[in-house]
């Protein structure tokens, strides 16, 4: 008799959803979280006013050098003195990269994982994103299409709460929306300018997982409407943005079916060749180093793309000498992120008499048009832009002193506009994660070695995005002060991993010899193993991926529950 009906490894964006769905189906679920337990009352710092944040919210420089040299450099906007508790200490959680190929592995180990620190941008993939691999031959065909996932997008959107505007764009299908955050005067200028100069492009309000008109279901979970503080990276005491902490874990817990264990680092999944199933989940306690084994009928892997891959690669057996469920040899391959940093920024003239109040947690989004409505490209696939236009505040680096300086800063600064590209990265089997042959971390886990680089398609894409970004701001009459257009392309490219949208290393597909999972996120060769984090995606679109992780997790969890109900698992 197994300890649990299901074990979910990881409590973040995707694991929270699996836990909720399985618990609500009446199954006894154990969630294993490798990190510590977060207590919002203690850990959230969103109630601190500027004068209550130590040292201008800067982490001491020596501490950054010792503990946060990757995290701080990679996510400088979100890794601060009042948020450092959400980010791993790099020296305690090492990884290696291939020579000359840097990779940012940005993460946090605690309840709810990155769903605490995410930037909450929420977009569906479009029909084209499920077909692009097949059409241009990069990667393998998705085993599912947009319409397979559409009802699950709706399912998770209703529960999570997404603010946005209906646009009827085929390539970026509308979600079930709560009211959008309205555009500033400057954003309206950008919208008018871009849409009149480029009729097939749109500037829309960013779609973000913030409650603006909470439903009864949401308030019943203790969640409230967004207060426009924009202190989201500190955690939200109002539960106004979606996280496992605010939404899915409480929903799972109220069923009475959830058991959650923290500091539980999964080292290995035991495979029983007689039953061809996972027979146990081997765990080491992060603090005591005590080892134990949990058992369940089904196991869901939601540890995040890299960690899920490491765990599977480490789970070798006679049947699977190269990693669990890795008959195809594809486990660890096809690592993708998004490519970024094509950017333009500038000042909007006029509008001196307009301003805004409150701090909107999002800005604008420019959906993909390249190879959708505009085909004059020298690359495949495409990119979208995130950005915003808001008025600058005070400026400490302006000429003048005394009363004049103070008076000048009482009037807000110029309208500052920026847009920054997120492009799709092609799946490539050479971009891969392997295990270091000898080096292990403090808990005995092999250290991952990440060998990943962008290719020519991503470079061409960012060249085009740089030109387009500048041209769009100029079309809106914005005075461009910074543009990546004139920069050498290698300086424009983000580091792989930096967009924190890593995916692809245990891909789903129809052919067991070319893929790890089937179209239900179920391992081809291990029927009671499901992987529903980013690792499962055959490609990543150019949209921020969290919503897709949510939808695909809910879909797979309900499929697994159906199988269990029917006695097929």
């Amino acid at each position: 008799m197994a300890d649990f009906d299901a074990i979910v490894i990881g409590s973040g964006m995707s694991g929270g959803w699996v836990a909720k769905e399985l618990c609500e189906r009446g199954l006894k679920v154990l969630v294993l979280e490798r990190g510590r337990e977060i207590d919002p009352a203690v850990d959230y710092t969103d109630h601190l006013a500027p004068w209550q944040r130590p040292n201008l919210d800067r982490i001491p420089e020596d501490e950054v050098a010792q503990h946060y040299y990757v995290q701080k450099t990679g996510v400088s906007y979100a890794v601060q003195e009042t948020t450092k508790q959400y980010w791993v200490k790099d020296d305690e959680h090492p990884y290696e990269t291939a020579e000359g190929k840097p990779f940012d592995w940005l993460r946090g180990y605690h309840t709810a994982g990155k769903s605490i620190m995410w930037s909450r941008q929420t977009y569906r993939l479009g029909p084209q994103d499920f077909e692009s691999n097949k059409q241009d031959g990069h990667g393998i065909d998705w085993p599912i299409r947009y319409n397979d996932l559409r009802p699950w997008y709706e399912h998770v959107e209703r529960f999570a709460g997404i603010s946005g505007s209906r646009e009827n764009l085929p390539q970026l299908p509308d979600s079930i929306f709560q009211p959008a955050f309205e555009l500033t005067a400057g954003e309206q200028v950008l919208k008018r300018g871009v849409e009149s100069a480029f009729p097939t492009r749109k500037v829309i309000s960013a779609r973000i997982a913030h409650l603006t008109a909470p439903t009864e279901e949401q308030t019943a979970l203790g969640r409230g409407a967004c207060q426009s503080r924009n202190y989201c990276h500190r955690g939200c005491s109002f539960g106004a943005y979606f996280s496992s902490m605010s939404a899915t874990l409480p929903a799972a817990r109220r069923t009475g079916n959830l058991t959650m264990v923290h500091n539980a680092i999964v080292q290995k999944l035991d495979y029983d060749p007689a039953t061809q199933r996972i027979s146990g989940v081997r765990v080491i306690d992060a603090q005591t180093k005590e080892e134990r084994v949990y058992t369940s009928n089904v196991v869901f892997l939601n540890a995040s793309t890299v960690a899920t891959t490491v765990l599977m690669l480490n789970s070798t057996s006679e049947t699977f000498p190269n990693g669990l469920a890795n008959r195809s040899g594809q486990l660890g391959r096809n690592l993708v992120d998004h490519v970024g940093q094509a950017v333009a920024a500038g000042m909007v003239p006029g509008l001196d008499d307009r301003y805004h109040a409150g701090r909107a947690p999002g800005g604008i989004y420019i959906p993909r048009y390249a190879n959708i409505t505009e085909h004059d490209t020298d690359f495949v696939r495409g990119f979208g832009f995130q950005g915003g236009v808001k008025r600058q505040g005070w400026n400490g680096d302006r000429a003048g002193i005394g009363a004049d300086f103070k008076t000048a800063n009482r009037t807000p600064g110029p309208w500052f506009a920026y847009i920054s590209a997120f492009g799709e990265m092609l799946p490539n089997p050479d971009n891969r994660i392997t295990l270091h042959p000898t080096r292990r971390d403090e808990w005995g886990m092999p250290v991952p070695v990440i060998d990943c680089a962008f290719g020519e398609n991503e470079r061409k894409m960012m060249q085009r995005a740089s030109r387009d970004a500048k041209a769009m701001l100029e079309a809106a009459g914005i005075y461009v002060v910074m543009s990546s257009e004139s920069m050498p392309i290698e300086m424009v490219m983000s580091k792989p991993g930096n967009k924190i949208h890593e995916a692809g290393t245990a891909r789903m597909g129809a052919d067991p010899m070319q893929s790890v999972l089937n179209g239900w996120n179920q391992a081809h060769d291990v029927p009671n193993l499901f992987v529903t984090d980013g690792a499962s995606l055959p490609s990543n679109g150019c949209q921020n991926p969290s919503l897709t992780y949510m939808a695909i997790s809910a879909r797979a969890a309900n499929h697994a529950a159906d199988l269990m109900r029917d006695g097929a698992l």
Binding site: H47, A49, P50, W51, R53, P54, N55, L56, R58, I59, P60, E61, D62, A65, S76, F181, E182, L183, T184, A185, E187, Q188, Q227, S228, R229, A345, M347, D352, D353, R354, Y355, H356, A357, G358, R359, A360, Q392, G393, W394, N395, G396, D397, R398, A399, G400, I401, G402, A403, F405, K406, N409, R410, T411, P412, G413, P414, F416, V481, M482
Partner: protein
């Protein structure tokens, strides 16, 4: 540009020279500020003279007017604590060098030690340095937009650059302070609404964040 700066500095020196002689016994106004800059307890980073210099400089840049100034807002003590707790040894060393260089340049501009100057002379010296520090400023650049996010900027090389960096820090601490954020500017911990587009006249002052 260099010529203009030299003329300007010369002018300040010329004005400061005679004034210096005339104001030997006029240090009473300074004393009041300096007395207020006696650190309560032990300083964490500065020596007393450096601490007082930061205070005098901060007071010249952001004085008490109809609203509290930088000294009222506790900027010197905050900076003292921050440099001790946040800065690496290298940053601490650079910062002390910056403070020394700026003080030396203000002494040059004032015609004698900065502390010996009257309030008015002090303001004139800081004003002259401020003018010199910004006169080469071209049109707005990306750096001037992102400059507030200090910590990543290269070490200052001239007294003018050091001055701008110090000024930026003083301003950052002042506008993050409770008086700076809530009395000088306006601040809402929990806005509770997003007003995307409204007349500035209805909103009033710059928001502190």
């Amino acid at each position: 540009m260099t010529d203009r700066r030299q003329v300007l500095l010369g002018l300040a020196l010329a004005l400061g020279g005679p004034a210096a002689l005339a104001s030997c016994d006029q240090a009473a106004t300074n004393d009041e500020l300096l007395r207020s800059l006696r650190p309560d307890g032990r300083l964490a980073f500065y020596n007393t003279r450096e601490y007082q210099f930061i205070g005098v400089l901060a007071d010249a840049i952001i004085p008490t007017t109809d609203t509290p100034g930088a000294v009222d807002a506790g900027v010197p003590a905050y900076l003292d604590g921050m440099m001790a707790a946040w800065a690496s040894r290298e940053t601490q060393r650079q910062h002390k060098t910056s403070v020394r260089d700026v003080r030396a340049r203000l002494t040059e501009l004032g015609g004698r030690d900065f502390f010996q100057l009257s309030d008015e002379e002090r303001r004139a010296a800081v004003a002259a340095l401020d003018t010199a520090a910004y006169e080469t400023q071209g049109p707005p650049t990306a750096a001037s937009f992102f400059g507030a996010a200090a910590g990543s900027s290269p070490a200052p090389e001239t007294p003018e650059q050091s001055y701008r960096a110090l000024k930026g820090l003083i301003a950052q601490i002042y506008y993050a302070s409770e008086p700076g954020a809530t009395v000088e500017l306006q601040y809402e911990l929990v806005p509770g609404r997003w007003l995307a587009d409204a007349p500035l006249s209805e909103i009033g002052r710059t928001w502190a964040e």
